[in-house]
């Protein structure tokens, strides 16, 4: 059995850039693979990752991201984000990383609970039909805290 003292990981995903979405997905999947429970709470822009129409069109951020090594002015030019995203997706494909829709299916089948934030859903005027079928429900932040129901639970804001 695992030696880890972490028993449950709760992720709050508040951003929709590819690097943040994949960080949450890879950590949630990695937790399940180690026998650790995992749940993701999608809030604010993170909701884009579970909107049927938007989830496969997420981008990497080229502005305000010094590690991209692109001058901010250049990063803001039309088409730069799309280009950088295309390049990154190609690299991810080489490593057999699934696209967002398939990754969500893997997470759900692996027992990761997927929750939408009620406040953000209301704020963006979204409806349950706009969100993926695999969603486990729409919760308030209070409800989500109550998912931290055992010792060894960790909560992470991304």
């Amino acid at each position: 059995m695992s030696k880890t003292k972490v028993k449950k990981m709760l992720f709050i995903l508040s951003k929709a850039t590819i690097e943040n979405v994949y960080a949450a997905f890879i950590m949630a999947n990695g937790a399940r693979m180690e026998g650790i429970d995992a749940e993701i709470f999608f809030t604010f822009f993170g909701l884009e990752a579970i909107q049927k129409k938007k989830l496969n069109g997420l981008h990497v951020a080229t502005v305000g991201n010094p590690a991209m090594h692109i001058p901010t002015m250049v990063g803001g030019l039309p088409g730069m984000e799309a280009l950088a995203t295309k390049m990154m997706k190609k690299e991810m494909d080489k490593l057999d990383m699934p696209p967002v829709d398939e990754f969500l299916e893997i997470l759900s089948a692996s027992g990761v609970k997927l929750w939408a934030c009620k406040l953000a859903v209301d704020m963006f005027h979204l409806d349950e039909k706009d969100l993926i079928e695999d969603l486990d429900g729409i919760l308030t932040i209070g409800d989500f805290y109550n998912q931290a129901d055992q010792d060894g639970t960790q909560m992470l804001f991304i």
């Binding site: 057999d96 699934p98 089948a109």
Partner: protein
């Protein structure tokens, strides 16, 4: 290190994975499974044999590969080997623990 599993001397690493697949047999696999709290069924063995074939064919094991396998889906994989399916099933199969993060 050398250890005795199901009456057979085998070499394992510090996590209990067999280092030499030729030392593996079903009794060894069955004992490793028992220590992981799993009672093997014919369905378990089907999956184990498939995993061993993949490793023999030099194919990397990943959860995405399970999804695409056509042999079983991810839900069944977690149901058969609860508590970390890929690392537990590979241990039972006598093959190396996959290094992939996905």
């Amino acid at each position: 290190m050398e250890t005795l599993i199901a009456g057979k001397n085998v070499i394992v690493n510090e996590e209990g994975y067999l280092l030499d697949f030729s030392q593996w047999n079903r009794e060894v696999g069955e004992k490793i499974a028992k220590d992981e709290g799993i009672t093997m069924t014919p369905r378990h063995w089907e999956v184990i044999e498939w995993l061993q074939e993949q490793v023999k064919a030099d194919k990397a094991l990943s959860i995405r590969g399970i999804k695409k396998s056509g042999v079983l889906d991810i839900k069944e994989f977690y149901a058969l080997f609860p508590g970390g399916p890929l690392k537990i099933s590979t241990k039972i199969a006598g093959v190396p623990k996959p290094k992939s993060c996905i």
